[in-house]
Structures are given as C-alpha cells and as structure tokens.
Symmetry: C2
Subunit: 653 residues, 2 copies
C-alpha cells in the first residue's frame, strides 16, 4: 500500500509516554483511580488539533472517551478512570479542530481587513453545516441561525464577523467532536486491578502456629483491628517426609519436627491438597469467607516446587530434571543443597509434556480460586520462566479479573522489574535491607520515578519468615517501630510477618538473616497479649493510611532535609492533585535521642503562602502550629517516640 | 498457544536500549562506522548467559554476527559495523552458557568436597559431547580426550577435576557458540547511509547568480578547495509568472525580475523540468559528474509546491485545495498570503487521486536520481504528511540505498524529531538562532544525548537564503568567523549559504531575518576574490574536520568551563573510543578582546595523568605546551583571532 506506516495513513504522530513499561507490556491501574496519560500528539502543518483517550474494558460494548488537554509544545495529557477489573486497552485519538483553525484564521483576516474574508465566511458556513449533525440538538437551531447569517446578502460584514467570532459560539462548539482526519494510536494494554490493590497492608502468619484454620479464624479480629487488608498464609499443603528438614534447618528431622511448609507434597497430595493438621477444605473456605467479611483477603503461597514425596514426582517424572545416574536433581545453589526440594523442569523435552505441566500449574491456581482465594504470594518467581508467568497470569486474570499476584523476587533489579511488567500485581522490594538515610532516599526516589510507578507496585516488608535484617537484629522496640513507620508511609503497600509486633529480634547466627527457632521448621506459640507490643502503633499507621489518600501514592513522594540528614528521614506525599499533604519524620536511630530543625520545601506541600500551618500527628493525636520551613523536632526512643506522621493544613483552612 | 509472549516461548527477556527511536522507527548508521548497541539480557534462574548481535543487510544471504559483552547487572553491549547502504535489521540473540554454568558449579562442588561430584563429571562429559560438533576441528581431539578422562575409572578425582577446570579448556571453548535455549529479539530496523553522510559540510549557491550550470561548474574547484562535500542548489525548475514576486519580495514583479526559484512551474514544465536560463539537462548532468569527480555531491531542492502556472495545476486540479468560489487556495499564514504558491493537497477526496499524486511526487525524485542526483534538501517537510515522507523515503531508498535527504523543518522540536525518526538523513537545527553561551551549551548537550544521537543527525547552518540572524546582522567579520567555527566543530554536519564567506551582513529590516537584496528574488554578482574573505578559515575548518575523527562525532561533545563562561565557549570531542581529543575555545564576543583561564576536565580528554600536554591549533599551526587544567587564553577580534581548534596530546606521546 502507498503510505505504509506504523499508523497507516494517519495524519497524526501519536507517541504514548505514560503509562508505559520498558518491555511494552501493559501498565497498571486500579478500579476507580484516575490514571494519568501523557502523549505527544501532532500533525503536519499548522492546524489546531484535539485529542481524546479511548479506554475499552473487557466486555465493554462501547469504549469510554475522556478528553486530553494540550500542555504546549505538542504534549497532551488526560486521565482514565477504569470502572472494572481486567485487561483494558487504551488508545489515543487525535483529529483536526476545523472550527478552531477557521476561527483563528478568520480573526487574523478580519484584523488585516483581508478582502478575501467573504469567501472564508462561506467556508465557515459549510463547516458548521458539516458539524451540525454531531452537535447536541439544543445547539442546532443556533448553528442554523449562524449559517444563515454568514450567507446573508443583507447583513453587514461587521455583523457576520461578530457572529462568527462570538466567544459563546466557540464555547458551545468546543465539546462537539469533529473527528476530521481522525487518527488512532495502536492500543496498549492497561491491566486494571481491584480498588484495594492500590495500597494494601499485609499480615503474614503460619496457620499451624495458631492451631490451623479454626485457630487462625480466631486471630482475624485482631488482624482486622490492626487494619490489615491481606492475610498471607505460607503453603497449606501436605509436607513431604523424605529429607525433611528438622528444627533450625537441620538436615535430619526429629520424629516430631513438622517440616517446612515449602516442602510441598506427600502421599496425602500435592498443591491442591490441604495438610490434615490445618483442617478441612470446608474450614479453609470458612476462613476465607470470614476474613472477607472483615475486609481481609486471604493470600495463599504459590510455590512451584515439590518434595520428593509429591504425587507429581511419581506421576510425571518428565516434569523434573534428571541426572545421569537416573536420580531426580534436587534444588541446589552449589555447594548448598536442598535435598527436600525438587525444582520443576518447565521445559520438558517433549512440548506436549510442557503444555501439560503449565496447564497443571495453572489448574492449581484455578483450584484455590474455586475455593474463594483471590490473592497469591508467588514464591521465587525469578527461578521460573518469564513466559510462564506472562502466560499463567494472563490466563487466570482473563477468567478471574480480580485475582492478584505478589512477586517474591528478591533478585537483580531488572529481573524484578520484568516480572512486574509481565503481570505481577505487586513486588517485594529491597526495603528490607535499606537502613541508612541516604540509601532510603535513593531507593524512594527510584521507585517514585516514571516509568516505575506505571507498572511496578512496591511492597515494603519490615520482615519475612526468612529475613530479620538491619536494625531489627537484636534491636530494641524502637527499631521495630521506626521500620514499621517507614514501610507503612514510604510505600503504598507494606507488610509484616507475625512476631514483628512482639519485636522478636533473635537471629539464628550473625552470618545469615534467619530467625532463631525459625517458624519455617517448628510451631511457635506466642503471647499476643504481651505488654509493650506494637499493635497500637500498627493500628494507628493503617488508620492513617486509610484516612489519607496521599499515603496510597508512590509518585508524589518527596524527600526534605533537616539539620540532621544522617539520623532524621524527612519526606512528604500528597494526593495526585497536590491536596492532602502528609509529612513524615522518622528518627532512624533506635538508640539515641535525635533532634534538629527541618528544612521543608513548603511549596511542594502546598504551603508556599508563607502563613502558619497546623501539623496534626496521626499517631498521637497531637497538633502543632508551625511557622516557616524549619520547625524543630525531637525524638527520644526512651520516651517511645520514633516518628511523626503529620497531616498538614494552613491555619484557618 | 500456551505461553503467548512478545518473544514467544523464549527463555530470555531482551530489551534493546540503543539504538532506538522514540517512535519505534529505524535508527541510523553509516557504512564502515561502528555503532554501539546496548541491551538488557536476562533469563530466569542463575545460569550463565551469553549474547550476540545479528545484523542483516539488504540482499545478505547470511547475517553478520558480533559478540556482546556483559557489563554487569544484566546489561550487555556490542557493536555493529555495517558494510553496505540500505535498510538493515538488527536483532539480539541470547543463550545459556552451559559449559560456563557447569564449570562454575563444579568449582563450588569441588571446593566443598561434594560427594556428588562424580555424577557431575558425567554431566560435563555429556555436555562436551553435545558441544563438540560446533567446535573447530582442531579442538575436537582435545575434547574427546577430556571426555574420556572424565569417564575414566582409573583416573583420580583430582586429575579429573584438574582437567575439567583447566583454564585452557575454558578459553578454547569460549568462542564455541552453544545456542542452548536460543532466544532472539524481535528485529529492529537500522538504516545505513553512505560513509560520507556521517559528517558532511554543505555549501549553498544560486546557480543563476553564477551564470547557470556552466558557470557553477567553474565554481566547483573553489568549493572543493574550501573542503565542502555537498553543493546544494535551490530549485532549478521553470519559475511561474502569475503573481511572481518582485525584488525584495514585492507583490508585483518588474519585467526583468527573475522570480523566486521556489515558485516552481510554468508552461515550460514543472518539477522535472530545468529553467532554460540555467542550461540544458546535459549541462546539469555534466555539473553533477564534475562535482562528484571533485568529491562533491550536488543536492537538489525538493519543494513540493506549485506556482499557478505549473502543469499539475491544469492537469490535476484535484491535487490542490479549492475554495467555495471555485478558486484554488494559495498558500497563506493568515493574514500573510503567498499568491505565487499553491500548496499541494496530499489528501484528495478520491484515494486513487492520492495514490497518483504520491507516486508523481516519488517520480520527481526518481527523475533526478536518474540524472545522477543522490542528495535532496527537502523544503518545509513539516507541512506535508508524515506518512508521505515515511513512504516516499523508504520507497526511494529501497531502490537507491545511497540516496539521502536533508529536512528543512525549522519548527517545533517534536516535529523535527519525528521527521528524523521516520527517515530524514539529516535535519536543519535551531543553531542558526542560538547565540549565547548558555543556550549553546544547553542545545549541544541535548543533541549529544541518547537517544537523539541514534537517529537525529543535526546540521548546523550559519545562515540560509532566508536567515541572517544573531551576531551576523550588521556584524563584523569576527562574528562570521566565530559562527563558522561553532557550526563546523559543535555539529558533525554544517553548512553555509554563499556570501557568508564574504561576510554579507545587511538585513532587509529589523523585523525579520531576510537579506537586503535577497537572492531569492534577484541575481547577485559577487566578488569571490575580495580581500579579507573567510575562505582560508573555512578551508582550515573543513581540513580539521577531515583529519580529526572526533569532529565527526556528536555523542562525545562535552562542555568545559573557564573564568569567563559568558563570553568563552569551551568544549571538546573525542572519537568514540576516547582517542583523538580535540578542544575548541570560541570567543562569542565579536567586538571585544576576551580572555580567561580554562577549567578543563582533563580526565574527559584522556589527559588525567597530570603531565604536560601539547595543544596544536589546527587553524593557525601554532603548538602550545600546557600544564594542568587551567591554561590562559586570549582572543582579540582586532587581531583576527576568534577561536582555537586544538588537537591535544600528552607531551612525549
């Protein structure tokens, strides 16, 4: 065809700048949230142009249109606000604004007393005739009147020009979409998650330590009172006995050692079975339903690996790696060995075996979705093929648009980002190992920057069942408190592994981040009513997160300075429109009193007017009245104060 | 299919970072030039990986492979060096380095005295058997010997390990491409231009002022002696008489006024005809051939517009815009009118008419290519459809891979970039209006930045037939000299419009940049042998550009500082590999002596060692011996010195 082009024969060049992912995979949004769209839109010549966004959701008969606004220099922006979960398509449409162009030129001609202006009035009359069918019926009589006047042989030129250039006419015509020279961009994907997926708080517990599903159900009220949105359970499946690890990750298990929940599969079943000691399938469904009633989603662990006793090992030896001696290859990171775990070979020699395997893995998800689960925490996704995740997540979400996945990939940055790009809803992050002020600032800035915010949803975990790091190791309660404040207010998503609120601080050794008496290998009894627990702080943090839309944002994070930039971390967030300024100041030193004067960028907080402002501490209920950019703050761990989480407003507002 | 993906079922994620264009159009290279390719390459898991580049030129039976090197953190880079003009495709291939992975693990196992090591030796033996067919025949006996040893029942484990881990074996196997898990990226386009297209110097003249083609032929030697690579001629076609503009752009032409060459077309013919006063087709072909013999390409002007007398107006009224009164719409930018020019309507109502028009426009290019022309300067491409350019350039270059196009789009930045992305070889730039040190630094930095350098080839013009701007207006010779130095050394491509070397400095008015007695509307007689012309400086600049590969680069441009950052512009370039450091210092004040101490970043110049260095001035032949980063410089326009263009080298090198 003459005129082959990425946008075949379109008059416009349309370059989508945001949302986008580096790999061309879909960006992300959530139901009801306004997502910013930025594009370069231009055509040849000097005509006025207009553009709009076209959002089409799964099952939509008609797309939803929303306007784009010219920012100057050929850049346009607009917003989409998806109403349903699932994979949407987003496109840009641009057209020539014929009326605007004609009016602009007519003004210039009139001012220059151009003798050709009469011909141009007829051009305008014809244009209005062409636009009339697309105009609201209430406007049509007015258009007919204008057309008649423009063609009148009795009206004066001055009258005609006055009518043609009437601002009211232009305003009335502005919403009439001309669609002349209409050019549409290639559509891109926008994966829309449920509204709650934007900023969930996670709580992890081992159900066996709580007495199984029934006992865990008794903890639901406490988890809900702390304000958590997701309750994540490590694998709930039968645990193998062959090479089972003993307490403290010893190579030989004692007769009473329960084994690691990640050693999945025994004679009792594999990934779709429930460990008998936890309860029945009915009890599990009850737990999921009871949790949802309290506003909590139960998340299961999706760990694609098998104990040597898993039924798949017998039934599908072709799904595993084999060694020359005929044995199945267990998991290793030489010289480390994990004999209790067989990794799956996602690329069997026969492609039919691969298809069967991938479908079986998908069916595991389908099984638990059938049991009511909508959230999966995926174990080590970076050791399985990227294309598998891309396929299985799209497969599942095409049938169950509200299902979400958390990527547990603590690995290289580009791998973590690729997993987010190809479908994972959220991702664990390096936060767990970022302690110093400078590295927290650098990491926060990185995550707040486009294009990260368009597809990579960071989840900040204070700790996990594998990781007790940084100031938490042998740390005082203040260390736990400050890490909770950071996780809950820097990132829209955060989580804790149970025991955190009790300040469990003992590691297995100085050489690793494993817990002493790791719950992975034994049942733990805890005194949930212990004094001095962090439950009130955690509840206050999650309450602040629910009251303040600013805390659900990543892109608006800004760091400020103080006279002690080593020990005090000072940052703010606002809602996307700049409202709801929240200022957080954290003393990173859990041991010593630290104080200083802030160096706030009040303009970034919408307080550039110079007047006084109130700072309401959402953690303590105190309200301070401050003037200027350098209020004094003081934190003494001995007094139990590690941070301020401050809602700001001008005095009198 | 199970596993749908942008890279179907590939194990790798491959993200090309450079070369690329914002719109996904092909990047650019030139024959014989090494182009940098940067990509992120990774797969799941922890195996060692390798990657290579695959370059396929037009008509290639086999692609050319070149290695990629791991830079760490999943980033790889390599180079391609295309050998022919035309559209190439570039892809990345990645695979799992099985031998490297196995060897790495074997080392860890051996160090840990792993009892499983014997099984792993058999794994290695099988792997070497698999690799042997791809190894050079000289290596195969050695591989057979290693395999036998690994399986020997008499050899000690220590012997086997020593042989398996022998560095010589690893080195010998390194070039053996395993291609296990081979994954290829989607190919992208790489348009390859002739070698000379990387850094041409342009000279524009009106042939009618030289006495037509024969007279212009007599100027060739002088143009060649100045070191220019391209001789650009404004349109050479018959000029219309209807509404012809008179001298000084007056509305009514006198009987002897020759008219603007851009008023193309008369009874004598249109875009494929030659104005009789310039000479014959044979004389034109002679000019093109003579020029090429002297190393100069003749560039024609491709101006898609018609005078009212153009044959297309009669033969194809459907190719023009019509007004309600039946008249053809002339060019306007209301209230400005250009009655001597009819713009073409590239979108006739009937698509068959559009196809006929676009093909006629293409055939104009084909005609002149048939006459020996290989370079076109395209007039106002931003007022014609982007898709037209994309199509016509690809059409022409598919048949004539060495044909190149210069975009005369002095318009908004994104439009200029889009034209470059969709096919234009070079682009005029804003240089002509950038005078101050700060704005020159900003603009230079912008052009030197990825991704611009991968597709946007800037051409810096001191002046054009339309533009006499900045310090040139009523300026002294020093103003012309300093602008020549800037254009010739900041940008790889530069050009002048004739008369520049004679320092023609009078404008039509203070309100515009038009020349007094504009050559567009009258024939100009010039005294080429006038004393004090800039011919020697221009020749020296072009000679320096040919001797120093650094001056053909854009991406290596770096600005330095001095004690007078307002008046002294200090910058350097090197070859891509850091060699050939060239330092330029320009006094931007054409009226006053300016001096100061430089603040050089000697590390960026490859002179970080701290010793003395020589600065050889390519303009004057002087050599200075300098120590340290702050030599003193002094420029006095009264003494005729406006700049240094210095080739640097360490003393003793």
């Amino acid at each position: 065809m003459v005129g082959k082009s990425p946008v075949p024969l379109g008059k416009f060049v349309l370059v989508l700048l945001r949302p986008r992912t580096p790999t061309g995979h879909p960006a992300k949004g959530v139901v009801g949230d306004r997502s910013l769209v930025v594009a370069d839109v231009f055509r040849d010549g000097h005509d006025s142009v207009a553009a709009r966004l076209v959002l089409t959701g799964p099952g939509d008969d008609e797309p939803t249109y929303s306007p784009m606004t010219a920012l100057g220099n050929d850049r346009f922006e607009g917003h989409v606000e998806p109403a349903t979960c699932g994979m949407h398509t987003l496109a840009i449409e641009a057209w020539t604004d014929r009326f605007g162009t004609w009016r602009h030129h007519l003004e210039a001609r009139a001012a220059a007393h151009d003798p050709d202006v009469e011909v141009e009035l007829e051009v305008g009359a014809r244009l209005l005739e062409a636009l009339a069918p697309g105009a609201p019926s209430t406007l049509r009589p007015r258009l007919a009147e204008v057309i008649t006047t423009l063609r009148s042989v009795t009206c004066t030129l001055a009258t005609k020009l006055a009518i043609a250039l009437d601002d009211a006419l232009a305003a009335a015509l502005a919403p009439v979409v001309d669609l002349h020279d209409l050019t549409a961009s290639a559509p891109v994907g926008l994966r829309v998650d449920p509204a709650w997926a934007k900023a969930p708080a996670w709580y992890e517990l081992f159900p066996r330590s709580e007495g199984g599903f029934v006992g865990t159900g008794k903890r639901l009220a406490a988890v809900a009172e702390m304000g958590f949105d997701v309750l994540y359970l490590p694998p709930i499946h039968p645990i193998g006995t062959t090479h089972r690890k003993g307490r403290g990750n010893t190579l030989v298990a004692g007769p009473d050692d329960p084994g690691s929940p990640w050693g999945i599969g025994s004679d009792e079943g594999g990934h779709t079975a429930i460990h008998a000691e936890l309860g029945t399938a009915a009890e599990f469904r009850t737990l999921v339903a009871d949790a949802r009633e309290q506003g909590i989603e139960v998340a299961l662990d999706y760990a694609l690996q098998c104990s040597p006793d898993h039924p798949w090992v017998r039934e599908h030896p072709e799904w595993f790696h084999h060694r020359p001696d005929g044995s199945i290859r267990y998991a290793e990171n030489p010289p480390k060995k994990y004999q209790d775990i067989f990794p799956i070979d996602f690329w069997p020699a026969d492609d039919a075996d691969r298809v069967a395997l991938w479908e079986a893995c998908r069916d595991v998800l389908e099984h638990w979705i059938g049991e009511g689960v909508r959230v999966f925490r995926v174990d080590n996704p970076h050791t399985k093929p990227f294309v598998f995740w891309e396929w299985v997540i799209a497969e599942v979400q095409s049938r169950h648009p509200d299902v979400c996945f958390l990527s547990e990939a603590f690995t290289r940055p580009k791998v973590m980002h690729a997993l987010a790009a190809l479908g994972f809803t959220w991702s664990y992050t390096y936060f767990t190992w970022r302690d110093e002020a400078a590295e927290l600032r650098e990491y926060g800035d990185e995550l707040a920057t486009v294009p990260d915010v368009d597809y990579f949803r960071p989840s900040f975990w204070t700790n996990t069942q594998d990781i007790l790091a940084g100031p938490l190791r042998d740390g005082p309660p203040a260390a736990f408190a400050l890490r909770a404040v950071l996780a809950a207010t820097v990132s829209p998503n955060w989580g804790i592994y149970s025991g955190f609120e009790l300040c469990e601080n003992q590691t297995q050794s100085d050489a690793n981040t494993e817990y002493l008496h790791s719950e992975k290998y034994e049942v733990k009894a805890r005194d949930w009513d212990a004094p001095d627990s962090l439950v009130p702080l955690i509840a206050a943090l999650n309450a602040a997160r629910r009251s303040h839309p600013a805390l659900a944002e990543m892109a608006t994070l800004r760091f400020h300075h103080s006279t002690d930039d080593v020990n005090l971390l000072v940052y703010s967030k606002t809602a996307p429109d700049g409202t709801d300024p929240v200022l957080v100041i954290v003393n990173l030193d859990p041991l010593l009193m630290r104080d200083g004067q802030l160096r706030l960028d009040l303009g970034a907080l919408g307080l550039g007017g110079g007047g006084a402002y109130e700072a309401h501490d959402t953690l303590t209920g105190e309200t301070f009245t401050w003037h200027g950019p350098d209020p004094y703050v003081r934190f003494d761990p001995a007094e139990g104060r590690v941070a301020h989480v401050l809602a700001l407003r001008p005095v009198g507002a």
